[in-house]
Amino acid sequence: MSDTLTIFEKGREGRRAFVAPELDVPERPKDELLPPRFRRAEAPRLPEVSEPEIVRHYVNLSKRNFDLDSGFYPLGSCTMKHNPRLHERVAALPGYARLHPLQDPKRAQGALELMWNLERALSEISGLPHVSLQPSAGSHGELAGVLLTRAYHEDRGQTRHKVLTPDTAHGTNPATVTMAGLEVVKVGTNEHGGVDLDDLREKADEDVALLMLTNPNTLGLFDPNIEEIAKIVHDVGAILYYDGANLNAVMGRTRPGDMGFDIVHFNLHKTFTQPHGGGGPGSGPIAVSDRIEPYLMVPRVVKRTEGFALTEDAPKSIGRLRGFQGNFGTFVRSYAYIRSLGAEGLQDASETAVLNANYLLARLRQECGDLLPVAFGERGCLHEFCLSGAPMKRELQIKTLDLAKRLLDHGFHPPTVYFPLLVDEALLIEPTETETKETLDEFAEAIASILREAREDPEIARNAPYDTPVRRLDEAGAAKRPVIRQPL
């Protein structure tokens, strides 16, 4: 049991890991420097622990995590590809890691050059000329995108209220729209998994500010009508936003800019292999077309004859969306990745991601196509695909959740489950390009064996997992009587 005590519960009065630097200046009475009414009466009850205890505590906690370095992690829409350690090495160079964000740009030329180079590379990959690296995650990039769209329309004296999003959209899309003061209008999905053009035509009017689209969408499908979609949206004077979470499918094959999008966000923590960190840090740079450029956030990196600089001189800019220059450490990693792979390697990454996804789809079709049919899979898929667990649920009486939990006992991270919402009992599977064929085969066989087992005895899956540090947890109870900090 001691392995679930928190660090607070392990503390004992008097222990410490920190040794303070010596007081090397003449000591002045505290009251003189800081009047008592401003002072804290009781120290915050942080843990009192020695250094060895901290190390052991967190090393042991780490062992209660599943991670990408240890196993297959086909979490759809998340692009859990290998994180090269070279990136951690270069990001830790003191010239980056210990560079103060307010350093005079003349003395931060290497950092600005790196940002400039990364911006140029993202521009080429997306086919859109201008880039801001500022947003801290995909959702932050989306917020930037919607605010830029507002600014664009306002600059034209228009107030448009609506943002179209397909029902396959990721939750951050609609949440962002509301946060940016606009209103979500849902667009339907057609029988091939793409945007319902009739519905789109009907809803696209002069009050529409923006269409937010993921392409390939969250089913792993590229919209075959993308050119028509762009036309419909542009014809009503609205902007096209590309949610780039799935860009890993198409590098070097097609570009949002060439499809007619005005704004795209990148998830550096997906396509460009910034490690996911258990839920961040991420990074959500955006690329935009010429007509959006005047509104981009400040500061911006500019290249001048005397070197690189940061400028805030942009009268129409929407301003800042955060402090400093963005998650620079993620820029270092993603830039290293782009330089490691180059044009050919990036294209190879996308091609292999698509090959692996189609292969795994084919294997699963062989093994269990009847119980877990693919949603809208008549044209195969790009980098991911979505299965429906509905027949399985009907036939074997186990749900997608049960299948997912049983996969844990097989040492796999389950796919994304119950997303996208429009597929019943959805399983969204993204193998990525860095997995071997052997791993894909093992995964397909694991799924098949779970289904076989369930046919014998569905209770096994329904009560899974068994071999994990804890088993199914009472989530409802947690939400009802929230205990969200250690009582002390």
Binding site: A17, L68, P94, H100, I125, R150, A175, G323
Partner: protein, 448 residues
């Protein structure tokens, strides 16, 4: 095949056969319409071996002047604090570095417990009962607090002190323009928020008020005197001062936010670090972002889960309390490891050390010719001086001597201390700055 992929020619043959296509091109062609195919290679440099990438990145890094290359007194939101070795080691462990958000709690207890411990530590620091598991960073945390207030009371105005960091004020304005709030700014008087103007500015349509402690000029604000009952009181706080400064939860603050970089995170030219976000119980179900909660498993074992998810975008979509999804979990891990390392006594000792060294530095600089204090308020770890000389030129002179004297203000400097700046460093700053100011004043007096 690159070094990160593994499809051998034989694999490729077998895989295509299983799929039932003849080539990879076919896979794309059946998905991507001809009209939007790129049809040419990307115009990017060719790939490089690992060692060449390392060397290129190293050469770029060498063009930067880091805090290892000069004695820096730059602060203003991020600080050259010492990162203990155990923090780096734990942040680099695969098991923390490479998973994603703990959607499957059975195999994510490590990350979830870390979040729970982090929330506890932030709650203790701020003396507020509720903390989330991190937001992006400091300034946008302030914007997120504004959104919380707007959703909570539906009013239309924000009042913000001019003592709040300019990046935070700008971010709030940008975000508030989106969710359609007016923003009124209250000026400083004698280095702190003008209390009369502040209370005058707050009206019945005010949704939230924003201040910073210590404020941007390093001055300790009288938060209790600025706190009000009605609109939501949001304070952006410096976490390393909270061992000695009265915490927001004891000063009438409803929401405390701030930049977590100092807590075990590197400067990284501005990020990634983490923002913290803590509030009173009343806002529990309006918080942005992930929250870990304690529960039990089917066998009765203690465990942790993401909880109160109905606030969040993936469940609530357009009615979510925030759009945040990926946050800064790894950096927050660094934060809680750092705070455990510092410990209950350490956070006080460190605060007191900063207090004393800052007082010493302030006194030394104020004694220089051409340098005077911008305000006389109490300070903890940062203070502002006015220079009787062109600020940018003075700074350049100091940097040429290996000392970065701080951030340029309109007519002065914002000087920050950390535990890494010794008395010897401060004395050197005084020498170099004194000489630089003197030289610049001579230059102005005797035009060439």
């Amino acid at each position: 095949m690159s070094r990160y992929t593994a499809v051998t020619p034989e694999d490729l043959r077998e895989m295509l056969a299983t799929i039932g296509v003849g080539s990879i091109d076919e896979l794309f062609d059946r998905q991507v319409p001809a009209g939007v195919r790129l049809g040419r290679p990307l115009d990017l440099p060719a790939g490089l071996p690992e060692q060449a990438v390392y060397e290129h990145l190293r050469d770029l890094a060498a063009k930067n002047t880091s805090t290892e290359d000069e004695i820096t007194f730059l602060g203003a939101g991020m600080y050259d604090t010492y990162v203990p070795a155990i923090v780096d080691m734990l942040m680099e462990r695969s098991e923390f570095l490479t998973p994603y958000t703990p959607y499957q709690p059975e195999i994510s207890q490590g990350g979830l417990q870390v979040m729970f411990e982090y929330q506890t530590a932030i709650s203790e620091l701020t003396a507020l009962p509720v903390s989330n598991a991190s937001v992006y960073e400091g300034p946008s945390a302030l914007g997120a607090a504004g959104y919380l207030a707007k959703l909570a009371n539906g009013r239309r105005r924000f009042v913000i002190s001019a003592g709040v960091h300019p990046h935070s004020r700008e971010t709030l304005r940008t975000m508030a323009h989106g969710y359609e709030m007016e923003v009124a700014e209250v000026p400083l008087r004698d280095g702190v928020t003008d209390r009369d103007a502040w209370h005058d500015a707050i009206d019945g349509d005010t949704s939230a008020v924003f201040l910073q402690q210590p404020n941007f000029l390093g001055a300790v604000e009288d938060v209790e005197a600025l706190a009000v009952d009605e609109p939501v009181v949001v304070a952006q706080v410096d976490p390393l001062t909270l061992g000695i400064l009265k915490p927001p939860g004891e000063c009438g603050v409803d929401v405390a936010v701030g930049e977590g970089q100092q807590l075990g995170n590197r400067l990284d030219y501005g990020g990634p670090s983490f923002g913290f976000f803590a509030a009173t119980e009343a806002y529990l179900r309006r918080m942005p972002g992930r929250i870990a909660g304690e529960t039990k498993d089917v066998d009765g074992r203690r465990g942790f889960v993401l909880t109160l998810q109905t606030r969040e975008q993936h469940i609530r979509r357009e009615r979510a309390t925030s759009n945040i999804c990926t946050a800064q979990a790894l950096n927050a891990l660094g934060g809680v490891v750092y705070l455990s390392w510092l410990g209950r006594r350490g956070i006080v000792e460190l605060g007191e050390l900063l207090l004393q060294r800052t007082a010493y530095a302030r006194e030394r600089l104020a004694a220089l010719d051409g340098v005077e204090l911008l305000h006389e308020q109490p300070v903890v770890r940062e203070f502002a001086v006015r220079l009787d000389a062109p600020v940018e030129r003075v700074i350049a002179r100091c940097q040429d001597q290996g000392v970065n004297p701080g951030l340029a203000l309109d007519d002065g400097l914002l000087v920050a201390l950390t535990e890494r700046r010794s008395r010897a460093d401060i004395d050197r700053l005084a020498d170099v700055l004194g000489a630089a100011v003197a030289a610049e004043r001579r230059r102005v007096e005797v035009p060439a």
